[in-house]
């Protein structure tokens, strides 16, 4: 392997890449925009839920409980319904996503220390949201009960919950680093697979193939620029995450970059495989997409791996993004150490070695 040859390839690739204004946008600006948009939009935290209140009782007590729903920050009382039918309409139209119904005589029951019932209705089409509504609502009611009964409560077992790592249970702290893991896959795979096929399409690859450049020289020269851009993009994204969302890297930065580098190597290998078989840029793009979609879905980013059927759980071992994601989340959110990440690192290495080997075998320096 000659350093000069690789240097020439690198220089040429970088010049081509950076000269094209569109390419500069795709590499450096798009990931950041994605980070911004997705991070603000993608949130599992249910806040400011519009609800309606149907109060048949219309007493001081029911109004007090209604106020508590309002002031908690989770609910906004958007409408007051006067009948069950009207309430039904509001829910059907989607004006509100939930409702609280007080039956007649609620106050009386509470004052006489009888069992009073408050009905909470949730829009079940968004099952996740409905669940959250119920748990928030019962929280509101529990708190009310606890205060009212404080004087006469003697002993009762209560929960003291504490969330580890992500103290405020902000889903953003998980989604933002996860998104960075996703963007690393998308940019490095797409750009690399297109870059080689583009030379096939234009015909320049023939001229390069006929020089004494060796296969490893060509592969390294052709892929390393994208390793570089991958690192630059992810670094920029981490800086943005820090500035805008206040997400800090809890663990070692060195370990983080080690994980990212091995992960990118895997994607470069995959992209090489794609470009060895594709003849046009479209083919390369589509093949990459079909590989990335299941990767993203099975990585655990959107659906926790533990919730998947056992067979599928085993299958996720073969998904490179799973290990990149777990590694990045581990270091950034949990501050995991090298030792704690050993399983992820092992799998990352297995993937990288496997894909790079297969790719360099499949990638021929001839034209067939």
């Amino acid at each position: 392997m000659k350093l000069l040859t690789i240097k020439s390839m690198l220089k040429k690739e970088l010049k081509q890449m950076l000269r094209d204004a569109k390419m500069r946008m795709i590499i450096f600006v798009f990931p950041l925009i994605q980070l911004m948009v997705f991070s603000f939009a993608l949130t599992m935290d249910v806040k400011n839920i519009d609800i309606a209140v149907l109060d048949y009782d219309k007493t001081v007590t029911t109004r007090e409980i209604t106020d508590r729903f309002q002031s908690g920050g989770y609910f906004i009382i958007k409408k007051y319904a006067s009948s069950a039918d009207e309430l039904r309409m509001m829910l059907d139209r989607g004006d509100v996503r939930g409702a609280v119904v007080f039956a007649k005589g609620t106050e009386k029951k509470i004052l006489s220390r009888e069992m009073a019932e408050v009905q909470v209705i949730g829009d079940g089409t968004m099952s996740n949201d409905a669940g959250t509504i119920f748990s928030y609502a019962s929280g509101v009611i529990n708190l009310y009960n606890a205060e009212k009964n404080a004087d006469m409560m003697t002993s009762e077992v209560t929960f003291q919950t504490r969330s580890l790592f992500n103290v405020n249970l902000l889903s953003r702290n998980y989604y933002v680093p996860g998104l960075i893991a996703l963007m690393i896959m998308v940019t490095s795979m797409l750009l690399t697979s297109i870059a080689i096929v583009r030379e096939k399409e234009i015909g320049t690859i023939e001229q390069v193939m006929v020089t004494p450049i060796t296969r490893p020289e060509f592969i390294i020269g052709k892929t390393m620029p994208f390793m570089l851009t991958g690192l630059i993009t992810s670094s920029m994204m981490f800086v943005m995450a820090r500035i805008i969302f206040g997400i800090t890297i809890k663990g070692s930065i060195l370990l983080l970059y080690l994980i990212i580098i091995i992960n990118i190597l895997t994607y470069l290998g995959l992209a090489l495989l794609v470009s060895a078989s594709a003849r046009t840029q479209q083919q390369a793009l589509l093949t990459s997409f079909f590989l990335m979609m299941p990767s993203a879905l099975l990585s655990g980013y959107m659906f926790p791996v533990n919730n998947m059927p056992t067979a599928v759980q085993y299958f996720t071992y073969l998904v490179p993004m799973r290990w990149g994601l777990e590694g990045i989340i581990g270091v950034v959110v949990k501050g995991a150490t090298f030792h704690e990440m050993s399983k992820q690192l092992m799998w990352l290495c297995i993937h990288a070695v496997f894909f790079l080997t297969v790719a360099s075998i499949k990638f021929k320096k001839t034209l067939e």
């Binding site: 000069l4 040859t5 040429k12 015909g203 001229q207 020089t211 004494p212 034209l367």
Partner: protein, 633 residues
């Protein structure tokens, strides 16, 4: 001039790109039913003009009228009456011939009623019917061009605009293509075309000779030559290289041009110059020459000394080698069931120019790719530059240079960046890289433009830069796959002079070409057809030995009108267009009288005479012998 009496009328068109003026106040009128050729060197503005007439490019000033409609105000009427075929590939390779035509018909909103019959007619008309179910991507180069033409014709236009339609098309398919054009014109179609082939230029009713964004001469090809006021002498001599220097010193570099084995000299005073020449050397055989279009091209090039400077540097640093450069036996390449190249044997010494001729898709490129290690042969053995073709493909690559048919430079890199890149992967550095970069810039004539983007280069410059990049490492064997395709005559000639220099220094040059006059410059030729080598030998031997038929040339007005009737004359085997006239292949010489009689009876003045077969005659007759039913063309 009355705008409406012309099929196409362009009025003081000006178009500027940044600092280049592609069209400088051009006015031209094309009559109904004529073939108007835009001829000129690379970058003269031909494509720009065609695009402006087609309405896909807006001129900075001036206006265009097509069939009396203004391109500015009656856009739709103009769109309906023209068809434009660009140099770019405009077909969908995954669709069949029929589907492609149908798609264009739908695009133009051709009426559904009778459409099927119309397409069938077009298929018959272009001899494409047998291929209507074939995918466009799998057609040969010549057929793709024909299909593009059919697609352009589907909405029954009145004016057809063609931008170098026969680039990279072999002679047999080119003849076919022209037969179609003549039929269209006979039906009243007006054709405006640009071409890099001068024999095609001679077939045009009128030509507009363009240079640097201006039309410098207009008229029939004969008129243009006559009005050029050029007088020519040609000199044949023993030692050409020595004579070249003497002649250029005496007459000035821009007046002396090497042309095959002789020099053509532009002369201001024929008799004085003839006298001077005969006094200069007893070896010189001096003859008067009638100028041809190519001479006009050469006279348009101002600075010929640049060419000399380029040629003097071609072989810088190249080590001379002798002996056998390449020997292969039984070289075969199969793609699945399809045999692309069948058992080719070749032995070529250093310093030979070896030409590959053959129709599109015959296997020329595949052969070249196998020889330079790009495609592993299916079977066969041999050595290239002393290395085994089967085992040492990678080692071969260090000692050969290859210029592919496709454009092999990076358009988004600057000129010098391309050189540095290829230099780098060939392992050149520091002082050596500097020296070779300097050399490459000199060879391509781009010293002052080294910071320009490669994408802006046209024709000859592009090709010379690609050549320079492919021989930066001083290889002793060079493979050039259709290197001059689409370049203008002057740059083609310079390119061949470079090839010649290389060969003189012991470099073996393999070259494939569709220009038959270029085939004459080769030391030996191989004719490849359907993967087989059907003939091989020196050009003159091929012409005299392999071509046993007689060739009768007929020069007559509107030669296309007589093709069919002449075929019926006794003893005539084949009639085909050749330059501005016809070539008839006959069984024996007695047919000449019958042909002359044919024109006498009809009281048509025609010049009929026996000629030596040209390379094109050889090519066509060989192909026809190998493929009597014409399945492959």
């Amino acid at each position: 001039m009355n705008k409406t009496s012309f099929a196409v009328y362009a009025e003081s068109i000006t178009k500027k790109y940044k600092d280049v003026t592609a069209a400088d106040n051009i006015s031209l009128g094309v009559n109904e039913g004529e073939i108007y050729g835009l001829i000129g060197p690379d970058g003269a503005g031909k494509t720009t003009m065609l695009r402006i007439i087609a309405g896909i490019l807006k001129p900075d000033s001036g206006s265009v009228y097509v069939c009396g409609h203004s391109c500015d105000t009656e856009h739709d009427a103009v769109k309906d009456s023209i068809a434009y075929m660009s140099q770019k590939f405009g077909l969908y390779p995954d669709l069949t011939v029929w589907e492609n035509i149908k798609f264009y018909a739908d695009l133009y909103g051709v009426e559904k009623h009778g459409l099927k019959e119309h397409i069938e007619d077009l298929l018959d008309f272009s001899y494409m019917r047998p291929f209507k179910k074939r995918q466009a991507g799998r057609l040969s180069g010549g057929m793709k061009q024909k299909l593009q033409l059919v697609c352009a014709l589907v909405h029954k236009p009145e004016v057809l605009l063609l931008d170098e339609p026969t680039n990279g098309v072999d002679p047999v398919s080119r003849r076919d293509f022209w037969k179609i054009l003549y039929k269209l014109v006979a039906d009243g179609m007006t054709i405006v075309m640009s071409t890099a082939y001068l024999d095609e230029a001679e077939r045009c009713s009128r030509i507009g000779l363009m240079n640097a964004g201006r039309v410098i001469a207009e008229g029939s090809p004969d008129e243009v030559v006559k009005n050029s006021g050029l007088n020519m002498l040609s000199v044949r001599c023993g030692n050409c290289r020595k004579a070249s220097a003497t002649l250029k010193k005496e007459f000035g570099a821009d007046r002396v041009h090497a042309f095959g084995d002789k020099f053509r000299i532009f002369s201001a005073d024929i008799s004085a110059d003839r006298k001077k020449l005969t006094e200069m050397s007893a070896d010189f055989i001096v003859t008067d020459e009638i100028p041809v279009l190519e001479d006009i091209f050469m006279s348009m090039q101002k600075d010929m000394s640049a060419d000399d400077r380029i040629l003097s540097r071609v072989t810088d640093d190249i080590a001379r080698r002798s002996g056998e450069s390449l020997k292969v036996t039984g070289l075969t390449k199969k793609f699945g069931d399809f045999t692309a190249v069948n058992s080719i044997n070749l032995t070529v010494p250093y310093g030979e120019i070896f030409g590959f001729l053959g129709p599109n898709g015959a296997g020329k490129s595949t052969t070249i790719k196998m020889l330079c290690g790009l495609l592993p042969p299916t079977s066969g053995s041999g050595r290239v530059g002393g290395m085994d073709v089967m085992k040492d493909a990678e080692k071969i690559k260090a000692s050969i240079g290859y210029m592919s048919q496709k454009f092999s430079l990076y358009e988004d890199l600057k000129v010098y960046e391309n050189i540095d890149f290829y230099g780098g992967i060939y392992g050149l550095k520091n002082a050596e890289l500097e020296r070779r970069r300097d050399w490459a810039l000199e060879l391509s004539g781009l010293r002052d433009r080294k910071n320009e983007m490669t994408s802006v280069l046209v024709g000859g410059w592009r090709q010379r830069l690609a050549l320079a990049c492919s021989i930066l490492h001083k290889p002793s064997i060079v493979f050039l796959d259709e290197p001059t395709s689409g370049a203008d005559p002057a740059s083609r000639r310079l390119f061949w002079a470079i090839i010649n220099e290389l060969a003189l220094h012991g470099v073996t040059v393999f070259v494939s070409t569709h220009y038959m006059e270029e085939a004459e410059y080769c030391d030996r030729l191989a004719l490849i057809f359907r993967g087989e080598m059907i003939a091989m030998g020196r050009p003159d031997v091929l012409k005299s030995e392999m071509m046993r038929d007689n060739i009768i040339e007929v020069k007559v007005n509107r030669p296309q009108d007589y093709i069919e009737d002449l075929t019926a004359v006794r003893g005539v085997m084949d009639v085909s267009l050749f330059g501005a006239g016809l070539h008839l292949r006959t069984e024996d010489i007695s047919a000449e009288e019958g042909i002359a009689g044919f024109f006498r009876e009809r009281k048509i003045s025609a010049d009929v005479r026996k000629v030596l077969p040209s390379m094109e005659d050889v090519f066509v007759s060989m192909i026809e012998k190998a493929d009597p039913e014409g399945k492959n063309v």
